[in-house]
C-alpha cells in the first residue's frame, strides 16, 4: 500500500485523481458518514412517528400543561395535585438537584478526609480508612440504599413515640424533624449580607495576593472574611430587633406539623450516595497526593514553610491537576446514581417522570426528558469542573 502510494506520488506530477487524494477522500467519507447518521436518525424518527400514529398513541408535549393530579412527597417549591405536569416535573428536577448538590459537597469533603487519612502514618487511622474504602467501593450502591433506608424505617420509633434528644428536635421513622426560625425579613437581609461579604472576601483575597507579591506582606484575607461573615449578619439581626420566634414541630394527628423535616428517603439516599462515592473520591485524592515527589515536600520544608503551607502551596496546587479530572467523573456518577432514588421512594426526577409516563402514556417524551435533564446536569457539572481544571492547570510560559 505504502509502496504504491509513494510510486504514484513520484510518477504523477499533476494532482492525483480524487480517489487517490487523501484530503478529498477524507472529506468524502466525512460527508458519507454524516449522511448515513442523518438518514438513520430521520428513518428512526419518522418510523416511530408512523408507528405511534398507526397505533393511535398520543404524541407531543401538550400534556405538560394539563393538571398532574398526583401528589409528591417532598418539594422545594409549593406544589399540589392541581398543578400542571410541568410543575410536577420541575419539583422532581429540583429534588434531584438538591440531592446532587448536597451529595457533591459532602462527598468532596468526606472523600478528601478519607483519602488523606489513608496516607496517614498512624497505623490505625490508615487501616480504618482503607477498610472504609474497600467496603464502600465494593458493595453495589442499590444494596447500600436499601440497607440505609431499612435502618431508617426499621430502627426508629413511630411519630407518637418519637425520640426527642433536644428540645424542638424529633427523630422517628418519618424522619428528622427540627425547629427552624419563623420566617422574618431579617433573615433575608442576613442572607444577602452573607453573600455580599463572601464576594467582597474574594476580591480582598485577590488584592491581598497582589500586595504580597509587591511588598511581601501577607494579608489574612480568609480570617478577615470569616469574621465579617459572622459579625455583620448578627448585627443586622440585632437591628431588626432580634426576632426569636421559632416554628416548633408538634405532633398533630398522624404526623408532626411545623418545623423542617428531613425525610428518611432523602437522608438514606444522600447517605448512600455520599458514602459510596466518597470511597472512590478518596482513592482519587490519594493518587493525586502520591503523585507529588517526596523531594518537593522535603524541599518545601527545608525553605521553612509550615506544614499547612506545604499542603496549601506545594502539594495541593500540583495534586489538584491530577485529582480534578477523575473527581469530575465521580461527581457525574453521583448525580446519575441519584436516579436510583425510585427504589426507595424519594421523589426525584425519574420517579416523577415515571408517574407522568404512566398517567399520560407518553413514554418516548418522558424518557427523552429524563435524558435531556440528566445531560444538562452532567454537562453543567463538567463545564464548571473543566473551567476549574483550566485555572488549576500548569501555565506554561
Amino acid at each position: 500500500m505504502k509502496q504504491s502510494l509513494s510510486n504514484s506520488a513520484t510518477t504523477a506530477v499533476a494532482s492525483p485523481p480524487f480517489w487517490r487524494d487523501e484530503g478529498k477522500r477524507a472529506i468524502f467519507f466525512q460527508i458519507a458518514a454524516l449522511l448515513c447518521a442523518g438518514g438513520v436518525s430521520y428513518y428512526l424518527f419518522t418510523n416511530t412517528q408512523a408507528n405511534l400514529a398507526r397505533q393511535s398513541i398520543a404524541t407531543g408535549f401538550s400534556f405538560l400543561n394539563r393538571e398532574a393530579s398526583f401528589e409528591i412527597g417532598e418539594s422545594l417549591i409549593s406544589y399540589s395535585a392541581s398543578d400542571t405536569y410541568f410543575r410536577a416535573l420541575l419539583v422532581g428536577a429540583l429534588n434531584t438537584l438538591q440531592v446532587a448538590f448536597f451529595g457533591i459537597i459532602l462527598t468532596t469533603i468526606l472523600g478528601s478526609l478519607v483519602g488523606i487519612a489513608r496516607l496517614s502514618s498512624n497505623w490505625l487511622v490508615s487501616k480504618v480508612a482503607t477498610s472504609f474504602i474497600e467496603v464502600m467501593q465494593n458493595i453495589p450502591i442499590l444494596l447500600q440504599l436499601f440497607f440505609w433506608y431499612a435502618i431508617f424505617y426499621e430502627s426508629f420509633p413511630s411519630p407518637r413515640q418519637a425520640l426527642n434528644p433536644v428540645k424542638g428536635v424529633f427523630l422517628c421513622n418519618r424522619g428528622l424533624i427540627f425547629a427552624v426560625p419563623e420566617s422574618h425579613p431579617a433573615y433575608t437581609s442576613m442572607g444577602i449580607a452573607f453573600i455580599l461579604i463572601l464576594v467582597a472576601g474574594w476580591f480582598l483575597n485577590r488584592w491581598g495576593h497582589k500586595r504580597q507579591e509587591l511588598t511581601g506582606k501577607p494579608l489574612p484575607a480568609l480570617r478577615m472574611t470569616a469574621g465579617a461573615a459572622i459579625i455583620l449578619p448578627l448585627l443586622i439581626w440585632f437591628l431588626y430587633g432580634s426576632p426569636t420566634a421559632m416554628s416548633i414541630p408538634e405532633l398533630r394527628g398522624f404526623n408532626f406539623s411545623g418545623g423542617l423535616t428531613v425525610s428518611p428517603e432523602f437522608a438514606s439516599l444522600l447517605l448512600g450516595l455520599v458514602l459510596y462515592t466518597s470511597a472512590f473520591v478518596a482513592e482519587v485524592v490519594r493518587a493525586g497526593i502520591q503523585s507529588i515527589g517526596r523531594g518537593q515536600i522535603e524541599a518545601a520544608m527545608a525553605i521553612g514553610l509550615k506544614p499547612g503551607q506545604v499542603l496549601q502551596l506545594v502539594i495541593f496546587p500540583q495534586a489538584l491537576r491530577v485529582i480534578i479530572p477523575p473527581l469530575t467523573s465521580q461527581m457525574l456518577n453521583l448525580t446519575k446514581n441519584s436516579s436510583l432514588a425510585v427504589a426507595i421512594g424519594y421523589a426525584d426526577f425519574v420517579a416523577v417522570t415515571n408517574t407522568t409516563i404512566n398517567q399520560t402514556g407518553q413514554a418516548i417524551e418522558g424518557v427523552a426528558m429524563i435524558m435531556v435533564v440528566y445531560l444538562f446536569f452532567s454537562l453543567s457539572t463538567s463545564a464548571f469542573m473543566n473551567w476549574y481544571n483550566k485555572r488549576m492547570a500548569l501555565v506554561e510560559r
Binding site: 418510523n47 397505533q55 424505617y153 421513622n173 394527628g253 398522624f254 409516563i357 404512566n358
Partner: protein, 339 residues
C-alpha cells in the same frame, strides 16, 4: 474497506428494523408463533404469580389460559411475561406481548391515548386503605395528615390524590416501585396507611407478620374494573379475547362447569347447543374451531370455578364474590347472548 463493511452492516441492520416494525396482524402472528404471549403481574397472589414450583397461578393467568384454549384448543399454549405496573402498557404497545392480563383498570385515557382496547371485565375491584388497628382509625375520612404508601404508575396514585383533595385533607405519599419493598416499608411503620385495590390489600394483609393487626377501612374510593387488553389494529383478535372472557361468565350462567361439560354436550337446550358448538355457527363467526367454548370450560372452567380456585373464600385471600357475582345473584357479571 473497513468503512464500507460497517456501512453495509448498518444498512442491513436498519432494513431488519423495517421488517420488525411492520409485522402481520396480531391473530396471524399468534397462530404462526404457536402460542399466546400474555403479560401477567408476577407478584400479586391470587391474580398472577408463579407458585413454588414455577407454575403460574391466578385469576388473570386462568383468563389468559382460556384465551389459549379458544385459539389453539389447548390451554397450555400460553407463555407469561411478568410485568411491573409501568412496563405493562409499553410491552403491549410494542408487541412484546399479545395480550395483557395483569389486573389493569379500564379507563378512557388508556383506551384512547395508549391505543388499547380493553375487553370484558374479569374482576370488579375498588381502591381501599389498609391500616394498623392500633392507630384507632375507623374511617378513611379521619386520615388528615397521614403518610400513605402507594405504588407508582397506577391509577391508585391519582385516586388517592383525588380522594384527599375532595375531602380537603393533607397527606404525604411515599411512592416505592417494588410491591414487596412497599409492603415491607408499610409494615415497618414508615406509612400510616397503604392504599391499593382492595383485592391486593387482602393479599398484602395475608402476608403481614401478624395479619390480625391490620384492617381494611370501609371506604372504597374508586371504581376499578380490571380487564384484559389488546392493542388497536386487529378487531378479530379483540373479539376472540373478549368472548373468551365472556364464555367463562356465560358458562356459569348456564350452569356448565368443567365437571359436567361433557354431559352438557348432550343437552337438548338450543342455547347450550349453540354455546358449546354442538350446533355450529359461533366458531365460524369468530374464525375459531366450533369447540372453542367447550375447550375453555373443559380445560379452564367457568368464571365461578376460576374465582373460587384463585381468590375465593377458601383461599388465602378469602374474597367474597361481591360485585363479581353473577347478575342473577346481585353482582355485575353479565354475558351477552352467544348467538
Amino acid at each position: 474497506m473497513k468503512f464500507s463493511k460497517t456501512l453495509v452492516l448498518v444498512l442491513s441492520l436498519s432494513l431488519m428494523l423495517v421488517s420488525f416494525a411492520y409485522a402481520g396482524k396480531d391473530l396471524d402472528a399468534v397462530r404462526a408463533k404457536g402460542f399466546l404471549q400474555a403479560g401477567a403481574n408476577g407478584s400479586v397472589f391470587g391474580f398472577g404469580m408463579p407458585d413454588a414450583k414455577g407454575v403460574w397461578k391466578g385469576l388473570d393467568v386462568d383468563t389468559a389460559r382460556a384465551m389459549a384454549a379458544a385459539i389453539f384448543g389447548d390451554a397450555s399454549k400460553v407463555k407469561f411475561t411478568p410485568l411491573t405496573a409501568q412496563q405493562r402498557f409499553t410491552a403491549l404497545q410494542s408487541g412484546e406481548i399479545d395480550v395483557l392480563t395483569r389486573n389493569a383498570t379500564r379507563t378512557l385515557s388508556r383506551e384512547t391515548q395508549l391505543g388499547l382496547n380493553f375487553v370484558a371485565v374479569n374482576y370488579y375491584d375498588g381502591q381501599g386503605f389498609l391500616i394498623a388497628k392500633k392507630l384507632g382509625v375507623k374511617s378513611a375520612k379521619e386520615l388528615d395528615g397521614a403518610t400513605v404508601c402507594v405504588l407508582p404508575g397506577t391509577t391508585t396514585e391519582q385516586n388517592a390524590a383525588d380522594f384527599f383533595r375532595t375531602n380537603k385533607m393533607a397527606w404525604k405519599p411515599v411512592v416505592i416501585e417494588n410491591t414487596s419493598e412497599l409492603a415491607k416499608t408499610f409494615f415497618a411503620g414508615r406509612c400510616d396507611v397503604l392504599t391499593s385495590d382492595a383485592s391486593q390489600l387482602a393479599g398484602t394483609r395475608a402476608i403481614a407478620p401478624n395479619p390480625t393487626d391490620y384492617m381494611i377501612l370501609p371506604e372504597i374510593i374508586s371504581k376499578e374494573p380490571l380487564a384484559p387488553a389488546v392493542r388497536h389494529g386487529d378487531d378479530q383478535f379483540r373479539d376472540i379475547i373478549d368472548f373468551s372472557v365472556l364464555a367463562m361468565i356465560n358458562a356459569e350462567e348456564l350452569g356448565i362447569t368443567s365437571k359436567n361439560v361433557d354431559e352438557m354436550l348432550k343437552s337438548k337446550n338450543p342455547v347450550i347447543q349453540r354455546f358449546l358448538g354442538v350446533s355450529a355457527g359461533n366458531g365460524k363467526a369468530l374464525g375459531l374451531d366450533e369447540k372453542w367454548a367447550y375447550n375453555i370450560i373443559k380445560q379452564v372452567g367457568n368464571y365461578g370455578e376460576v374465582f373460587e380456585r384463585n381468590v375465593g373464600v377458601n383461599t388465602k385471600l378469602g374474597l367474597e364474590r361481591g360485585l363479581n357475582a353473577l347478575w342473577t345473584n346481585g353482582g355485575l357479571m353479565y354475558s351477552p347472548p352467544f348467538k
